[in-house]
């Protein structure tokens, strides 16, 4: 197990550097004058231009610039947003909990429903339920989620009026951000109805964001379950006279879950990509919306380091999932 972890950590470092290289290169590729790009201003006069070039180190060779970039990152300096003049890092940390809350809600929705649907579909293979699950999940990952969000809004918010159209919580409430999680913070206030309101705001975005992971998890669970049920050790379990429930849930599910776990983890990447779209539709104040707005406003420090932060996050999560997978699989757990 140790060598497994060591190898994974070993992979982490070059990948991290690779990402920094990518984001570094990305900004250098923007057409136009680099000073104007980095400062967000047009037609800087020649003297200020030269000063800025000196200050920003733009006249030095590329590898030196890259070195400076890494040094800055190491010091935690991720630059300032051109629009708000706030540090990129503080903006990210203040907005991230919103995205996290949304993602967790979406994952819970997708995981619980997906596992259940997948297991039942596998057990009732060929039945109407099975075909239904397969059909719906195929539609699920074939559909553009921004459209799906609009349709749900049209139906539930506009026509039925059950859920609000946008935001995290009604403007009436002023919730002090203790943890950043609206569902938790509202519990601390005395405003009655605040928690319910937060929940109502959360439901639709979570469903929209979780739709694709739901489809993928349901499919994966079903096929994994079907494969496992064909294995010899299931036959042995039945030959031992064990009850069908035990055979399926103790012997079958335990092994079927292992590949599902990896898929689960990989969905984090999908979630973050989906968050970009979902947050835009629902005006959910998270890092996805922040990034898109920055791109539209040419706020390049935010674009560059925002992407860096999100990428690092994804790599970290994939790393954790990898380790968890190793723990769950006895064969890997026992490798020296």
């Amino acid at each position: 197990m140790l060598s497994f972890i060591a190898r994974r950590v070993g992979l982490l470092i070059p990948t991290f550097f690779g990402i920094t290289l990518l984001t570094f290169a990305l900004i250098r590729l923007i057409p136009g004058d680099p000073v104007e790009v980095m400062m967000g201003e047009r037609r800087v006069d020649p003297e200020m231009h030269a000063q800025a070039m000196e200050r920003l180190g733009l006249n030095k060779p590329l590898y030196v610039q890259y070195g400076n970039y890494i040094a800055q990152l190491a010091h935690g300096d991720l630059g300032q947003s051109l629009r708000t003049r706030e540090s990129v890092w503080s903006e990210f940390t203040s907005l991230f909990p919103a995205t996290l809350e949304l993602s967790i809600a979406a994952l819970i929705f997708a995981g619980v429903l997906g596992l259940l649907a997948g297991v039942i579909a596998a057990l009732k293979r060929g039945s109407l339920f099975d075909h239904g699950v397969m059909g719906i999940s195929l539609a699920g990952y074939s559909m553009p989620i921004f459209w799906w969000g609009l349709i749900l809004i049209m139906f539930f918010s506009v026509t039925l009026g059950w859920t609000p159209v946008s935001g995290r919580i009604d403007l009436l409430y002023d919730i002090p951000p203790k943890t950043g999680f609206m569902l938790i913070d509202t519990l601390f206030t005395e405003d009655e109805g605040a928690w319910m309101d937060a929940l109502r705001h959360l439901i639709l975005p979570a469903i929209v964001l979780g739709t694709i992971p739901l489809a993928v998890i349901a499919r994966m669970t079903r096929s994994s379950m079907l494969e496992v049920l064909r294995e010899d050790y299931i036959r042995t379990a039945r030959a031992k006279g064990l009850s069908p429930r035990r055979v399926v849930f103790v012997h079958g599910l335990r092994n079927a879950l292992i590949p599902v776990l990896t898929v689960f983890g990989l969905q984090v990447g999908t979630l973050l990509a989906g968050a970009v779209l979902t947050e835009t539709i629902f005006s959910w104040p998270g890092v996805g919306k922040w990034l898109i707005e920055a791109i539209g406003a040419r706020d390049y420090p935010v674009v560059q380091n925002g992407i860096l932060l999100i990428a690092c996050l994804i790599i970290l999560v994939n790393f954790v999932v990898d380790i968890l997978y190793g723990l769950a699989n006895p064969r890997i757990r026992h490798q020296r």
Binding site: L11, T15, S142, W147, I281
Partner: protein, 303 residues
Amino acid sequence: MTTQAQPVAADQSLLYPSPLKEFWKAFARNKGAVAGLMFMIVVVFCALFAPWVAPFDPSEQFRDALLTPPSWAEGGQLQYLLGTDELGRDLLSRLIHGARLSLLIGLSSVVMSLIPGIFMGLIAGFFPRILGPSIMRLMDIMLALPSLLLAVAIVAILGAGLINTVIAIAVVSLPSYVRLTRAAVMGELNRDYVTAAKLAGASLPRLMFVTVLPNCLAPLIVQATLSFSSAILDAAALGFLGLGVQPPTPEWGTMLASARDYIERAWWVVSLPGLTILLSVLAINLMGDGLRDALDPKLKNAI
């Protein structure tokens, strides 16, 4: 040996059909795949003959028919079969021309990433000591980001528009082809027929393209189909975010971006473009599933 009771001899040609016939039989067994194929044929037809199939020009604005509901709804008119948008443009015509765009984007991005992808995968497989791992590291880094974010980043740099959308999507799909090709190549390199070809004096290019590559095609074909459908989705997403194809070009996703303001008043401007995206992607995915089922068992039975 004395004569024995002969079983009824089956027609030999039926026992061993040609590979194409066999493939079609396996593919046709999947009804969903066939339905997908039918739908895509319609879409391709619309795309190819859009100027003649569409009733109106997609950018023609009918000022006196703004936001007309579809013909079957109240207030609808028969000539605007699916209604009109906020600028009075016929929705059906825009959707048909949008098919052209989506298929163009899908096709060009697949081709643009498939060819370099296969090439790089072949190299990675044939030179596993240094070149291979470096290529794979690069691909891993690219895969570390979800495809939409990477595409957004690329478009952020290059600027919005159709061509940059295609480039972004092509770059983003590249790693999967490289990985697939490399895995398939490494699997085949251990086989006896490759050793035999080497002994017979095959040159490296010949080994790569004539000996090994044809046997790696099956998973690549399936992946290409799936990339095609995600290209359509990604292009629509970029269009929706305002980073892809710009209005007034009738790309399905871009149409949805401007439709956002009309959720309450004109449901058809919101539902219909998205529905076409859904149906097209669904059709391609069904075909991809059918392809995989038809090609995989063949792969298993092949020597």
